[in-house]
């Protein structure tokens, strides 16, 4: 057991946890972040990355205002990973338009600060000119714009920035217990290091529980009861940007579903199902896939002809509002101070919240933490940029200078901003690292090596979150073994570990591919089986492979 002292321990490496660690570290607190898996490996890693205007939640004007303010901040501190997407909501009959027009006003209240045009109606001709694949019989459409952020890079950059400010970030460390004295005050946190199989302990008086869909379980370790409403959401993912703009439509149950171009792919989401299952075991069901496709088909009849590459599934940790459908649950957040109600002193738990408000949530809880520590330090997370945001990057000039394709450089820029220069610098000594490893994204070898050296990945899945490795049409068929070799070399792994890394990554990709298996993905899987089972003989490998939560049972 190691022992060290921290002012605050943050549990959870999602958008909220990393934002809290960053804020605490920037205010000079000795900060430790513990994540049982990897950064952005659960809820935030399965979202569409929309940092929304809060349009769906116009009944909560405070939330909408907060969303707008936060978008302005994101554009200031993380513009290199922010994109603006135009969105069309096509209308097929008048009832769609007449049902409710208050959203136009609520949206328009914040257009100036968000730097977008006011919401407007478009004629069918104007609509079809923007998106010719839409149903020819639409009577109009509503046009508006939303901002999106790369959710993986956001969390990682927050974690890296926290580290730059002195925080310690520990992934694959699962909190298993708290030390609580007889005055019901937290004195220490005990966690299990999943990489080394050891139990460790740290001293702290304050814990921020940002474990998302596991928040109630973390609270339970301190014998605290935390009510939460878990809600499953699934996406269907297409192989490329199949639409020119985002498309939103009302599903058969009246919920809004959307089709958003996202990085090199298109996301169709989401479903909303209350769930009590272990979030690690959840996958999209046939019904969820059909619900999404059939809903979108009403305005985009050819959607089924597009190539589906996989599904993804996450769990929303909502505040425990009962007797209301998911869409009416507040998107505001709550900070539960367990000590305030005769509970454990020093434990603060998050409920609810949205991606766009994660920085705001962090500011609020860090204010509280500072107050408890008797410190008065102002928050600066909305002023100081995240790494890479500093300047524009001339990728055309860089492409000529380094002889790397524009496409590869643009994708690298979208992840790293000015920090991409560090990657390119490495290729001066090692020109062979300009070699493309993942051709779908694409990603060059130098970026993989830099990520391994500086962004603490342990597995290929961690590399996927940092680089979008294996997220394209081939779903890692061609890059898995190449990237596994590089990881193995950089981390000095044994041969068996190299094969386990391959099997682990194939397992995680398969988790999402399997549910929507059809069309070209049948051939893609025949090829993957041919490579890894038939030629590689990995189906017969005797390495120590641990079954994944979604692989257990029958």
């Amino acid at each position: 057991m190691t022992d060290s002292k921290f002012d605050v321990v943050v549990i959870g490496g999602g958008s909220t946890g990393t934002a809290v660690a960053r804020d605490c570290a920037m205010r000079g607190l000795r900060t430790l972040l513990l994540e049982r898996d990897d950064i952005a490996s659960a809820t935030v890693g399965t979202c569409a990355g929309m940092i929304s205007s809060g349009l769906k939640y116009r009944d909560e004007p405070d939330i909408m205002k907060m969303c707008s303010t936060e978008v302005v901040y994101w554009n200031h501190i993380a513009r290199h990973i922010v994109m603006k997407n135009p969105i069309l909501a096509p209308l097929l009959d008048l009832s769609d338009a007449a049902s409710d027009s208050s959203y136009m006003e609520s949206y328009s209240e914040h257009v100036e600060e968000r730097d977008v045009p006011a919401m407007m109606f478009l004629t069918p001709d104007a609509t079809l000119e923007i998106e010719p694949m839409l149903h020819p019989e639409i009577i109009a459409s509503v046009y508006y714009e939303e901002y999106f952020i790369d959710p993986f890079r956001l969390c990682l950059l927050q974690a890296l920035d926290a580290r730059n400010h002195g925080a310690e970030i520990r992934t694959y460390c699962e909190v298993i217990d708290f030390e609580i004295n007889d005055k019901q005050e937290i004195e220490g946190v005990i966690f299990y290091n999943r990489v080394f199989g050891t139990t460790e302990r740290v001293t702290t008086k304050l814990v921020v529980n940002a474990a998302g869909p596991w928040a109630h379980k973390v609270a339970k370790s301190a014998k605290e009861e935390l009510h939460i409403r878990l809600n499953k959401g699934a996406h269907v993912i297409f192989d490329r940007r199949i639409v020119n703009t985002g498309i939103t439509v009302k599903a058969m149950d009246g919920r809004w579903v959307y089709l958003f171009p996202h990085e090199n792919t298109t996301l169709l989401g989401t479903t909303a199902l209350d769930t009590w299952e272990d979030p690690d075991t959840l996958v999209a069901s046939f019904d969820e896939i059909e619900y999404l496709l059939q809903s979108m088909e009403t305005v985009l009849p050819s959607i089924r002809e597009a190539r589906i590459i996989r599904t993804m599934t996450g769990v929303r940790p909502l505040v425990p509002d009962f007797k209301v459908p998911e869409r009416n649950v507040t998107r505001g957040y709550r900070i539960v101070d367990h000590g305030e109600n005769d509970g454990t002193k020093g434990l603060l738990s998050f409920l609810g919240g949205k991606l766009v408000t994660c920085r705001h949530m962090a500011e609020a809880v860090t204010d509280l933490v500072c107050e408890k520590l008797g410190k008065d330090i102002a928050c600066t997370t909305h002023e100081k940029p995240l790494p890479g945001n500093e300047d524009d990057v001339d990728i055309i000039a860089l492409s000529k200078e380094y002889d790397i394709s524009l496409h590869a450089l643009e994708r690298m820029r979208a992840r790293r901003g000015t920090e991409m220069l560090k990657v390119l610098e490495m290729t001066k000594e090692h020109p062979e690292w300009k070699t493309t490893i993942c051709t779908c994204e694409p990603i060059i070898e130098a970026e993989i090596r830099l990520s391994i050296r500086e962004e603490f990945p342990q597995t290929l899945n961690d590399l996927r979150r940092r680089l979008r490795l294996g997220t394209g049409p081939c779903q890692g068929t061609f890059c898995t073994y190449k990237a596994a070799s590089i990881l193995s070399e950089e981390l000095g792994l044994a041969g068996d570990d190299f094969l386990v890394d391959i099997l682990d990554f194939r397992a995680e990709r398969w988790k999402g591919i399997r549910q929507s298996m059809r069309g070209e993905q049948l051939a893609q899987e025949e090829l993957a089986q041919g490579m890894y089972a038939c030629v590689g003989n990995l189906d017969q490998s005797d390495v120590d492979y641990d079954l994944k939560p979604w692989e257990e049972g029958h």
Partner: protein, 457 residues
């Protein structure tokens, strides 16, 4: 334009080309359509017959023994369907099944001798070539360039894995580590393994170097000498007796290049088994095309069968279409060798599977209708396991003469035969049986088509 011929083969991979060659050699006027690249060209270029029984974990020692076991335990496996031919005496069924595959293997070895993909190995024992991951797999025939000599027998053997700068398909350090751990577990030689990177720059750049560029480059005069020169230092450093290369030793002259390298370095040089895009796979494909055209077969590249004419229970003609033209081809018999999902013979969506040329009715690996299956439900939770993915066992059910059958078990047409991955009832990735089933069923389909044409005449 209309054509008339004896036999039309639809599909130009291993199954189709063998069927076509056998028919052409038997004097039939044969036309073969090939839509695009075949799955054979994506293969490692080694020819598996049977490596594992379904769901078994011990590799099969010899294809012969494996086929005997398979015929007892899995009577509906494509290797075994000819056993249901009523003309074969019961006592001779197994002998016939094993004999047919043995004949095919012998035929293939003899025919590919002297081509750019000469084979070695035999029916009596499986070999265990090393792959680019550093693993090994059981297979029946390898290309001679893949022969690793006595590396696993000689007590003092030292193996050097050679990588090429900027060629991402093969990483010699991880392969060396994986292979050495494997050999240590087996307590056999080689006990010393090394790795190195050399520079081969077909286009003057040390990055994004591809297999095909390397293979073509190594066919050029002087390339091998240069390679040998770079290798010497690395070989001396660890005292290597054997040298493993990624499978890029040449497209036309791979064997000659291997022998030359051996002569210049005094070591045994060999190619590892690799992933697509695979040079040995392309060598095999081209070699098969060569023997087909040499036998007098005609090939229509870039053509696919788009429609057909069937009168009663006889298939009369098919239409072969390319982007520029359509050709109606009348024939006495037809072989369907369109492959599975990669080849495009079987396609599917969330409502079921279909056969793409004649709309025949696909079945699952258990021979139930696959016309209305949800593909995701015919998969395993585990991505890579000995169970494999059951969806990969779907395809066509055939009668003992390799004619696709309907739900009633009767042939769809008297003169349509099927071969290769379009067949149901086996999962080649886990059995390691892909090109073996393709070759044997192609051989059988052709023999049956020839017999049919003679009968009708």
């Amino acid at each position: 334009m209309d054509l008339e011929t004896d036999l039309v083969v639809i599909g130009g991979g291993m199954a189709g080309l063998i069927a076509g060659t056998i028919a052409a050699e038997a004097g039939l006027d044969t036309i073969l359509l090939r839509k695009g690249q075949s799955a054979t060209a994506y293969s490692s270029g080694a020819i598996d017959v049977i490596g594992y029984l379904p769901e078994a974990s011990e590799p099969i020692i010899s294809p012969e023994e494996g086929l005997f076991a398979l015929s007892r335990l899995y009577p509906l496996h494509p290797y075994n369907v000819l056993g249901y031919d009523k003309r074969i005496e019961f006592e001779k069924v197994m002998e016939n099944i094993v004999g047919r595959t043995k004949d095919t293997v012998t035929w293939l070895k003899a025919h590919l001798d002297g081509t750019i993909a000469p084979l070695m190995g035999d029916f009596e024992s499986n070999m265990h070539p090393i792959t680019i991951l550093g693993t090994t797999k059981p297979t029946c025939l390898i290309q001679k360039t893949m022969h690793n000599g006595d590396v696993q027998d000689r007590e003092d053997s030292v193996l050097l894995f050679v990588g090429i700068m900027g060629y991402a398909d093969f990483n010699p350090s991880t392969a060396a580590k994986t292979y050495l751990e494997d050999r240590m577990a087996a307590a056999g030689p080689p006990r010393k393994v090394g790795h190195c990177i050399i520079q081969v720059m077909p286009f003057g750049k040390p990055y994004n170097v591809s297999s095909i560029e390397l293979a073509r480059h190594l066919d050029h005069e002087g390339s091998i000498e240069n390679l040998a020169e770079q290798l010497k230092e690395h070989i001396e450093q660890i005292g290597a007796t054997h040298v493993a290369f990624p499978p890029v030793l040449g497209l036309q002259d791979a064997l000659k290049n291997k022998e030359k390298l051996e002569e210049l370095t005094g070591t045994t040089v060999f190619e590892l088994l690799g992933f697509p895009p695979s040079i040995p796979g392309q060598r095999l494909q081209r070699a098969l095309e060569t023997i087909f055209t040499k036998a007098g077969g005609k090939m229509l590249l870039g053509h696919e069968a788009t429609s057909y004419l069937k009168v009663d229970d006889n298939l009369k003609s098919i239409t072969a279409a390319s982007p520029r033209r359509e050709i109606k081809i009348d024939a006495k018999a037809f072989v369907l060798a369109t492959g599975k999902y990669i080849g495009g013979g079987i396609a599917g969506d969330e409502t079921g599977l279909r056969e793409t040329v004649f709309d025949l009715k696909p079945v699952t690996g258990d021979y139930h209708s696959a016309m209305e299956i949800v593909p995701s439900r015919f998969t395993s939770r585990l991505s890579i396991s000995p169970t494999g993915q059951p969806i990969q066992s779907c395809g066509l059910s055939v009668d003992p003469r390799f004619r696709p059958v309907d739900e009633d078990g009767l042939e769809w047409a008297k003169n349509l035969f099927a071969a290769g991955a379009v067949l149901a009832g086996y999962n080649y990735s886990v059995e390691k049986s892909g090109l073996g089933v393709a070759a044997t069923s192609g051989y059988s389909a052709a023999k049956n088509a020839i017999e049919f044409i003679k009968e009708v005449a």
